[in-house]
Amino acid sequence: MHAADTISEAEQALCGRFQRAIPARANADPHLVWRGRSLRTDCLVQIGSTAFLLRIDAGSIRECLTRLPLLCSWAFAVRGSVEGWAALWQDPPPPGWHDLFALSKRGEMSFEGDLQPFLAHLQYFKDVLALPRQGDAR
């Protein structure tokens, strides 16, 4: 992860927004946790140059680490540009920027690694990664 002074203000703001939403809002939604009940995985979410490691167990996000452990492993990564995440989290998001796959189609997002846990629980991940859109202007 890059030092805070090397990343843009826009990226810092998005990362703050992500951290205010995740894991708290995800874990506070019992139906969302229930929908992820068969899921246990570690995955990487990247906003611009900043990476977060999410450790998920039975639908609960047990950890959201900003300082990645040395040599840490993860099953898959969702990496998006600052512009992509910023657009996705607008309410409503603009056409063509409103979904993870809309962003990947336009080259603003990528999915890497073992995609089975991601795609087997795709709506869960879409809903988790949309949480920063709710009720947070910054």
């Binding site: 809309a102 336009r106 795709l122």
Partner: protein
């Protein structure tokens, strides 16, 4: 049950010979007048048109009919289906539509299809335009860039219904009402194993119509293309590019709508489709 609780939709089955196979096809209809045959999207069924079939502004002038393709909804696959992989082809899709219209003895119907139904409307305009009063392509283009590998739709370690719905959920506009969004997705959760993938064989592999749509005569058979601004699968740019090669075609870009206009946001859709249906039946005065 009170009469007021009954919807006007009536469902029936018809035996349709399709490429030598005896298919039992389910269809729903409502209204009287010009036949309007509605084609559902890949991996879904005729319920997508339930709002249109209950709209008196449509059914007072049109006999609106929506059928389930074989393998979809309440239409079984043809006998013997268990022994091969389902793949929809251009030929099979065209012949299914023509055979269904012949089975019901429809006289020059209007055909309105969405997504794969929109793509086949383009093919019908190209190859069989004289058989139709007008053609309407919703979310239609001659080609669209793929955005995922369809092999994920049918494999043992991923629930087919869940992934089909989750993938297409992004094609519903954020403004669409929750009830209609989730009814639309429910159909994708209910599709048979491999059916959505088999439909996309037509879409992705067999029906690249770029450069193959010559000779469409919109004076003889008017053509309309309507695409939602939130459709990133068939984008407005895809539709406009396609329309640029069809003289006389009329295009509408629908605001706050995605890939499933008739089912995800019926109110917004009717604002766009009613002027088209009025024009087709010859009322250009804007009765509403």
């Amino acid at each position: 049950m009170t009469r007021a609780a009954l919807e006007p939709i009536v469902g029936r089955y018809v035996r349709v010979p399709i490429l030598g196979e005896d298919c039992r096809v389910y269809f729903e209809e409502a209204g009287q007048g010009i036949p309007l045959v509605c084609l559902h999207t890949a991996g879904a069924d005729s319920r997508q048109f339930r709002h249109l079939l209950c709209d008196e502004a449509v059914t007072s002038h049109y006999r609106a009919i929506a059928f389930d393709l074989p393998w979809h909804g309440k239409s079984y696959p043809p006998p013997g289906w268990q022994d091969y992989e389902y793949k929809l082809t251009t030929q099979r899709y065209v012949e299914t539509i023509r055979a269904f219209c012949a089975a019901l003895d429809l006289d020059r119907p209007v055909v309105m299809g969405c997504s794969i139904g929109g793509r086949i409307a383009l093919q019908l305009a190209h190859a069989h335009g004289s058989e139709f009063r007008a053609l309407i392509g919703l979310e239609a283009a001659d080609f669209q860039a793929p955005w995922y590998d369809t092999s994920w739709l049918h494999r043992g370690d991923v629930h087919g219904g869940e992934i089909c719905a989750a993938l297409v959920s992004g094609l519903v506009a954020p403004q669409s009402p929750a009830q209609h969004r989730h009814e639309t997705l429910w159909q994708y959760m209910q599709g048979g194993p491999g059916v959505f993938k088999g439909d996309l064989y037509f879409y992705r592999v067999d029906a690249d119509l770029r450069g193959k749509l010559s000779g469409i005569d919109t004076a003889r058979c008017p053509m309309y293309l309507l695409t939602g601004e939130y459709d990133f699968s068939c984008t407005p740019e895809d539709t406009l590019r396609t329309a640029a090669g069809i003289p006389g075609v009329k295009v509408t870009i629908m605001r706050e709508v995605g890939h499933f206009p008739m089912s995800e946001n019926p109110e917004q859709f009717r604002r766009c489709i009613l002027p088209v249906l009025d024009e087709i039946r010859g009322d250009r005065g804007g009765a509403r």
